[in-house]
């Protein structure tokens, strides 16, 4: 593609996703600079964590970000100053937000209005108040504004092409009727192990423990079991099909944290008491089994009814949602064009590498649009 000579990149966050993204950025920058038609130079001009940051007042590229960050004693720039710094860069700027920070998300509207583009897996920007959603897309060039571009493929299903596919369906005029799926790697693993299609499976509390040990849960598993992460993803998808969802708590979300354990003071206390509720879960399993079904934790959007919900549902053993493996996500789009057999996307929906992949492919799209 005939690309711009230089695009400046600023990255916030250097955790699992951030590190994987920086590795992919380095691969991408090398490829784009060697593009025979019109080489493009991606310059990493800022890298910031919650504790420190590294950048140069003359916008010189960071040559060795790992060492520079490690040796840095510079605190992160407050967000307004960050915007000022980026807006004065001698070229187009893309801010890559690899955090899940609400404050950073809240600052997207002013960044976008200043012409700074944003790519991010940060769900909070798109699933908090409807006002924030409106403010973001009324400023963005790919909304109704004239500022920077904003892309967030990895905010649902990590690198799986969920958001781009839904946008394509809507923009080409298909009639999206229902979206249904398993949107959490943790919930996928838990229920695929708790009640495999082939029968058997462990006690629910034991599977939660295993998932935590395997690193499939947040440090405190309650952050997965409360359903909020899934509710945020459904909020994003529902808004993309045009529903005005006020917040991820404005529709029914089933929490898997028993009422009696809501007051536990720590994740460890919660885990130690969770076995008290295994009998309830075993009953659910047995009820489903009687109907030849299995229990799964799903989210769905019923578009004509304007209904969004998140919680446990029973599925026939031959249903693609029942047959899911490991910690995979699955997303089914039921539309007028696709008829009875939905368009299905399936695969790993969490993890640093695949989440970063969604961010990097968004960056490629923005760089091409900025030409």
């Amino acid at each position: 593609m005939p690309l711009p000579r230089q695009v400046f990149i600023a990255v916030i966050g250097a955790g699992g996703v951030g590190k994987a993204f920086l590795a992919q950025l380095s691969h991408l920058a090398s490829n784009l600079s060697r593009s025979p038609g019109a080489p493009t130079y991606l310059s990493l001009i800022l890298l910031s964590t919650s504790k420190k940051s590294v950048y140069h007042s003359d916008y010189k590229s960071l040559s060795n970000w790992e060492a520079e960050l490690q040796n840095s004693t510079t605190p992160p720039l407050p967000l307004p100053q960050l915007a000022d710094y980026l807006v004065k860069a001698p070229g187009k700027v893309v801010l890559v937000d690899n955090t899940s920070n609400q404050d950073v998300a809240d600052s997207y509207p002013p960044f976008l209005k200043k012409g700074i583009s944003i790519v991010t897996p940060n769900k909070k920007a798109f699933s908090s108040t409807y006002q924030l959603w409106t403010d973001i897309f009324s400023g963005a060039a790919n909304g109704t504004g004239t500022g920077g571009y904003v892309f967030h493929e990895s905010s649902v299903g990590a690198g799986l092409p969920v958001i781009s596919t839904l946008k394509d369906l809507v923009e080409t005029g298909d009639d999206v009727r229902k979206i249904e799926g398993v949107f959490s790697g943790t919930m996928s693993f838990l229920f695929n192990s708790f009640q495999p299609v082939s029968g058997g499976g462990g006690k629910f509390s034991a599977e939660v423990k295993t998932a935590k040990e395997k690193g499939f849960t947040e440090p405190d598993p309650r952050d997965d079991l409360n359903g909020l992460d899934v509710a945020r993803k459904l909020t994003i998808l529902a808004r993309l099909v045009g529903l005005k969802i006020e917040s991820p708590t404005s529709f029914p979300v089933q929490s898997l944290i028993p009422k009696e354990l809501e007051s536990c003071s720590s994740g460890d206390e919660f885990l130690s008491r969770l076995p008290e509720f295994d009998n309830e879960m075993e009953e659910l399993k047995a009820d489903a089994e009687k109907e030849g079904k299995v229990v799964r934790f799903v989210g769905s959007v019923d578009v004509p009814k304007g209904e969004v919900k998140v919680g446990l549902e029973k599925f026939d053993k031959s249903h693609p949602i029942a047959a899911l493996k490991g910690s995979d996500n699955i997303i089914a789009f039921y539309t007028k064009r696709y008829g009875d057999n939905p368009l299905i996307i399936q695969g790993a929906g969490a993890g640093g590498e695949v989440t970063a992949m969604g961010v990097t492919s968004d960056l490629i799209k923005v760089v091409r649009l900025l030409q």
Copy 2:
């Protein structure tokens, strides 16, 4: 998005895909013209079939293409004159090729070099000689050239996001190891009915007849059964991951036309004699059944080995390829990042509406890039 004020569209082909595309174009044009930020006007300036065409020397938009085409007595423009006409349009031009014509495909390189962009489901452009592939992408702005853009999502799996996903995997630096799937709606229907996972199923020749009656085959079913359509799709995917595949006949492709019937003079003669070979197909079915498997017609690319092949394979009944329904396609990408559980895309891979959807979403991408 801040879009260009006007983009000129020329469409070749007004069959099933062409008609569905024109309906989607009208919906899209209406939406883009009402875009609050920067309205864009898509002007349909030419529509051509193999028999006649309609266009105006002053590039006036076709106001009512159906009536204008019906009343037209103008023959189609020869391709060089078509290029001359389009290149003199007072703005950027996108040629939408909704044919499966080799001559039109062969003319892409000069069109692209003249700055005309192309969107198309025409497999022949990307699956004929490797020289044509090289000529196309050495001229295109999204290849190594500086001409128009070329997008062809619907050349594999119709509107399913197969090509865009594969490009994202490759461009973000994932290591694609294997691509495997069912790439033909006809073959999907035939084998899902011939040997359902639940057992039973009809004789092969009877299923071919049913498929033809339901409109799931080409007018002459031999055009599906020879495997060439699937071979063309595999050629495209293999080239996208960097393999230099000379042509769709340069790797093993299993034809389901028995040797003895290759000389049949008509599709009808072929269909009437096909039952003579039902016993052979029943043996295949029984052999698979003995192993608890089913037979499916698949294509695969083994990237490290550089091997492409198309033909019958046996799959465990629990494999996603075995569980496919109706005439759906399924495509699995095995990559380093996705590990043992591939990224899977599944859904209708044929039909006017969904094929046109891929073309329309490509057009949206090009219009944005042309801004």
